[in-house]
């Protein structure tokens, strides 16, 4: 089980290269979404390693807030010339 967690963490570190060197803002948002889902799977697998079933609730709560993050980021990061979109 631990080798699987190690492989997922290594792939998340490789994906973080796209956050550092992304040419534009939507590249970075897509890479952030991928890293979030990968660590959500790590939380589910850690629940089976420690044999405590309460850790799945942490994964559920994190999934809700990752969705809210992506929606708010792609709504409010507009072009700099357009100015504020408003609320």
């Amino acid at each position: 089980m631990l080798y699987l967690i190690l492989a997922i963490v290594l792939s998340a570190i490789l994906t973080f290269y796209r956050v550092i060197k992304g040419p534009s803002v939507p590249d970075r948002i897509a890479a952030m979404n991928s890293i979030g889902v990968m660590f959500l799977l790590v939380l589910v697998l850690l629940s089976y390693y420690f044999e405590r079933k309460i850790f799945i609730d942490v994964a559920l709560i994190y999934g809700v807030f990752l969705f809210i993050n992506v929606l708010v980021m792609s709504k409010y990061f507009s072009e700099p010339e357009k100015g504020g979109v408003g609320d």
Partner: protein, 77 residues
């Protein structure tokens, strides 16, 4: 084996924090904030503290990022 994963996550946390401080544009710094939050959640889970992990998932990945994004949109940067 669990110590190796723990040390790897610690190094990843330091890399994320340095990227957030030393980047040029301010929106890149805000995008890297949820990644910082989720690594901290996994570290809390490995240290056997699920209630602190839930609070961290709500605060760092949910509330703070939304406040920063709306504040950047309202002001001229």
């Amino acid at each position: 084996m669990i110590n190796l994963i723990f040390n790897l996550l610690m190094i990843f946390l330091v890399i994320t924090a340095f990227f957030m401080v030393f980047t040029k544009d301010i929106s890149n710094s805000v995008i890297a904030l949820p990644v910082f939050g989720v690594i901290l959640v996994v570290i809390f889970v490995i240290l056997q503290a699920p209630d602190a992990a839930m609070a961290e998932a709500i605060i760092a990945a949910g509330l703070t990022t939304v406040f920063f994004v709306i504040t950047i949109n309202k002001t001229e940067y």
